[in-house]
Amino acid sequence: MMRSMFSLIRREFAAYFQSPIAYVVLAVFLLVTGHLFALTLNQLTESGPRGVEFPMMILLGDERFWLVFLFIPPLLTMRLLAEERGSGTLEMLMTAPIRDWEVVLAKYIACYAFYIVLWLPTLLYLPILLNLQAVWDWHAWTLFSGMMVGGLGLLVILFFVALPLGMSFFNMFLMLLIGGTLYGVGCWMHYHKDAAHLVELTAKIDPFPILTSYIGVLLAGGMFLALGMFVSSLVRSQMVAALISLILSLIFIVTGFWRPEMDTASLTYRILLYFSVPLHFSKDFTRGLLDSREILFYLSTTIFFLFMTIRSLESRRWR
């Protein structure tokens, strides 16, 4: 069961890089976040009374970002099931010994993994957005701290290189064992014998708004991807899947755009506040707030759409 899901996840993830869409999405996304990062940088280095309190607010609280972001999940999810349905390969897939929910989950994981890859380059902005300063202590590099760092490196290689490339299970187990032991023993000895810091990091700008922003990004992305996948399971054409999920995503995004005439005490506004994603970001996530209502909203919507996708895939049986 695990093996078949794993095999499917790998194929689906690789399939992104076998079509030009992934590269286009990546490039456009980087272009936009890069531009917004430049704007943030301007604000951060502004002299006088101007500037910005929460740097992530310019990146993620901005309408320009959401206008572009709107297109990304539909482009990532449109092919997931619609392509299989259209070309008939769904028949090949569903007659393999794999359950419907496993197919849905595997495809969702693959697409979510690509979504994470999409965001990885933005981590490079963090040292500047945090005004991070690192002081390295070269005397702290002893045998034990070396073991710790080496073991950690081995574990990182295991999870990010060996696992996706698909090493044999025995070798991966060996790597896990060696890496884990090295890291564990290194940590223990380093803590008890050396007790010196390898590096001292100081963030001059509060790091928590950035953490909550990324949590928000992961939650909201999960919701949009689940929605897109559900739409993709309903139709045969990738184009139609992309368009419909785009229109459905509009409900969650356009409602959050800035409207100065709106009375923030009105019932409409309070209702909008429940489901308009840009509002969640500009008011809460980018300011370091985690609101349980929003988290619950994203998680429940994600689970709902995943459930609906499984049902929709199952419906071929009785239709």
């Binding site: 095999s7 390969t89 393999a96 698909g166 071929r316």
Partner: protein, 238 residues
Amino acid sequence: MIRVEHLTKYYGDYPAVRDVSFEVSKGQIVGFLGPNGAGKSTTMRILAGFNTATSGKAWIDGIDIFWKPIEARRKIGYLPENCPLYTEMRVEEYLNFRGGLKGLNRKTTRQRSDYVMERCWLKEVRRQLIGTLSKGFRQRVGLADALLAAPPVLILDEPTAGLDPAQIRETRKLIRELGEQHTILLSTHILPEVEMTCDWLIIIHQGQVATEGSLDSIRRQSGHKNLEEVFVQLTEAL
């Protein structure tokens, strides 16, 4: 090996398969014949686990396909009609993916995919993109995939459709060879094909079994006519 009892499938109000029962014993090559739209593909899809029957039961190697779908699917190698494949993958890559999907471990997958590529004459195109292959080669990839997990039962939906005469001949030979190890249920329109490969015939018309038996017995029943005449007679009479 395959047992089907009173299988019925409705698409809305339209009965695609009506009360079909038959049995295929181990090691047989059974030809599943019938005009277009007779319900051949639907029956095969139900057996392969893609669709579910409206009523009726079926067993593959004693395993109920409705209650134990995963175990039943492990026993089946299925080649769908038109043989849909991921066109952006390479042949070897595709077979490795399918091996993992069918729950084989890495080592077995490699061994089996080498074996089936040898068997289905795919060695020379192993690094080629499936999208660039000709229809005949694609059909072979589909067949290789069906064989991959060494299932006891093969269900082949029109394995020779769209092939040229030389390829049909090769495929026919391959199916005969496979019949020594596998139980095969294959559907086709090509009657000489059936005469040459199959031990047993099931002729299906308008969702019902019109006749069933060995080639000789069917000929005898209808007074020593050739298969084509029998086929036409049966499918018009009902």
